[in-house]
């Protein structure tokens, strides 16, 4: 187990370095000169994509020096990492608040949405997958897999609008703009979870069908164990390993899905904050949000990797 943990950490660290470096480089790859961007912002000018602030050469160099942009790239990267590790991600152009503060304020709503979406995805997905696998090629199977194909194909933003049309505009059960609390969470979480549910349903089904045909399942049945015990204790547990992997991958999909879903439902969160920041050229905020979202994705995938040994003794034994 310790060796396994160590190996996973070894693959995680270079990725963290690469991802942070890429986010850091965004500033240098922008079509805008960061120095002019900053001067323009300080002068309170419009944050147009083309910045044309009138500055003297002297002033330009001073600001460039203040921003540390005259130092070698690797030094700048080091400073960026140091600051990020200390929660210093700069100041938002549009709100004049620190980026860290804005992320802190918006992150809980997104985490709540993603976790609720994942929960819905797991419940619907695994249930449908198991039900379909128990009676392959029946109408139950066809219905479950039909749902899965639609779940994979419906654009989440459209599904969200349709649900709002029905439940908010026609029935008036929920407000058109998402409200805090559980009621306001249901529709966005369902919208967000449908795609992941579809992926999990298909995967659980194929994994279950494979496991149900194995010898030890036949043995368990031959021992006279009840059907539900065989299905849950013997078959389901062993068919979950590929499913858990995909749950981890889906979490990334949920995080990026939240970007769109939050905008559809008018929910506060990292996603809607990022979109607003992009459209308003609020560059420090975008950079901070991309950094936080991609790092949390890496961490979640790392944690998912750590659950394998719990499910598969072969990994636990270090095989």
């Amino acid at each position: 187990m310790r060796a396994y943990l160590f190996r996973r950490l070894l693959t995680l660290l270079p990725l963290v370095v690469l991802v942070t470096f890429a986010v850091f480089m965004m500033e240098h790859l922008l079509p805008i000169d960061p120095v002019k961007l900053m001067i323009n912002n300080e002068q309170g000018g419009e944050l147009a994509p083309v910045v044309d602030a009138k500055v003297s050469q002297q002033e330009y160099l001073t600001v460039k020096h203040e921003l540390g942009l005259d130092k070698p790239l690797l030094v700048q990267y080091g400073v960026f990492l140091y600051n990020a590790a200390h929660g210093n991600l700069g100041v938002s152009f549009s709100t004049r608040r620190t980026v860290a503060n804005m992320i802190e304020k918006n992150a809980p709503a997104t985490a709540e949405l993603a976790v609720a979406g994942l929960f819905i995805a797991i419940v619907i997905g695994i249930t449908l997958g198991v039900v379909a696998a128990l009676r392959p090629n029946s109408w139950v199977d066809a219905a479950a897999m039909g749902f899965a194909v639609f779940g994979l194909s419906i654009p989440a933003f459209w599904l969200g609008i349709m649900l709002l049309l029905f439940f908010a505009v026609d029935l008036g059960w929920v407000p058109v703009l998402s409200t805090p609390g559980l009621v306001g969470l249901i529709l966005p979480a369902f919208t967000l979870g449908v795609r992941a549910a579809a992926v999990l349903a298909r995967l659980t089904r194929s994994s279950m069908i494979e496991v149900l045909g194995l010898d030890y399942v036949r043995t368990a049945r031959a021992k006279g164990l009840r059907g539900s015990v065989v299905v849950i204790r013997h078959a389901l547990k062993n068919s979950l390993i590929p499913v858990v992997t995909v749950v981890g991958l889906q979490f990334g999909g949920l995080l990026s899905g939240a970007v769109i879903i939050e905008s559809v439902f008018g929910r506060p969160g990292l996603g809607s904050m990022t979109v607003t920041a992009i459209l308003g050229n609020d560059f420090p905020l975008v950079q901070g949000a991309v950094l936080v979202i991609s790092l949390s994705y890496l961490v979640v995938n790392f944690l998912v990797d750590l659950t394998y040994p719990l499910l598969d003794p072969r990994i636990r034994m270090g095989a």
Partner: protein, 301 residues
């Protein structure tokens, strides 16, 4: 390696295409024996055919305003109603298909070309090239889905062309990984060794001997990617990071529809149905292709 490939008919220049062709024929036959494949094609045709023949099929100019009163509900004159400027929603959905589908197709082409270059470099050359490419793939996969596309859009600036690049770049790692794996397996086949022994250049071996034999899984991934690319492209346009008004584009139309949904359900409903039809069609077709290519998977995945 040193044994001469005697029993194999000596390949003549330009005349080796026969075996893959019969294989593709058989695949096509297995594909369209499945009702799902036919349904998929019908769904797709419902959106693609009108898009191709848009100038003939569309009842109105998609940009013309004031064709009816703003927010006219669906009537015989305007089957899908009109939007906030009195534009014909049906015509806009038909023309929108041209753009939304092209964005998907071009994005997948970008992902495919990038994936072919990286995948062949990694799988065929091996060694440090393989190591480098695979680390790069891991790195790109470290960004969750749409975030990678968003980052590219930010760096290049929001426009239609950049949207295609952004979505396309996101598809590169998937193609690269699949192609690398297939190339690794295929390059140990005897016919590849035979071609190399006959002195064929690396480029020729890759293009004429390996590529045709790994085509099947690539085609499946192309369909899956196309579905995802259409969703990503319309999604980014919905967020305002792609097509700009007044361009008829499905994602953009949905974004208008979201604003007016309390007064006009039809503005958001019909573009969404179009996207769903296209993507469901592609996904069903992709599943059927997978079954046709790998009969062992039939009835399982």
């Amino acid at each position: 390696m040193s044994t001469a490939p005697a029993p194999v008919p000596m390949p003549q220049a330009g005349e080796i295409a026969a075996p893959p062709e019969t294989y593709l024929h058989e695949l096509a036959r297995r594909l369209f024996r499945q009702p799902a494949a036919v349904i998929g094609v019908i769904f797709l045709a419902l959106v693609i055919v009108p898009a191709i023949f848009a100038p003939i099929v569309a009842p109105y100019d998609p940009l013309a305003q004031g064709l009816g009163a703003p927010f006219t509900p669906p009537t015989l004159q305007h089957l899908f109603g009109t939007d906030q400027f009195g534009r014909d929603v049906l015509s806009r959905v038909i023309y929108g298909g041209r753009l939304s589908l092209s964005i998907g197709i071009i994005a997948v082409a970008i992902g495919l070309v990038g994936g072919l270059v990286l995948g062949f470099a990694a799988g065929f050359a091996g060694g440090w090239a393989d190591e480098g490419v695979m680390r790069f793939v891991d790195f790109m996969l470290a960004f969750p889905g749409i975030l990678l596309a968003i980052a590219v859009v930010i760096m290049l600036g929001p426009s239609l062309g950049n949207l295609m690049i952004a979505v396309g770049v996101g598809g590169i790692p998937g193609f690269a990984r699949l192609i690398r794996g297939s190339v690794l397996a295929a390059k140990e086949e005897e016919f590849v060794h035979a071609a190399q022994a006959l002195g064929a250049s690396s480029l020729k071996v890759m293009a004429r001997h390996i590529l045709p034999n790994i085509l099947a899984p690539i085609v499946v991934l192309i369909t899956v990617s196309l579905a995802d690319a259409i969703l990503a492209g319309t999604g980014l346009s919905y967020l305002g990071l792609g097509a700009k008004p007044p361009t008829p584009e499905w994602g953009l139309m949905l974004s208008d529809g979201r604003d007016y949904m309390q007064v006009a359900w039809w503005v958001s409903t019909f573009p969404g149905i179009a996207i769903t039809l296209a993507v469901v069609g592609i996904n069903i077709l992709g599943d059927a292709m997978r079954n046709a290519i790998d009969p062992r998977l039939r009835g399982r995945v």
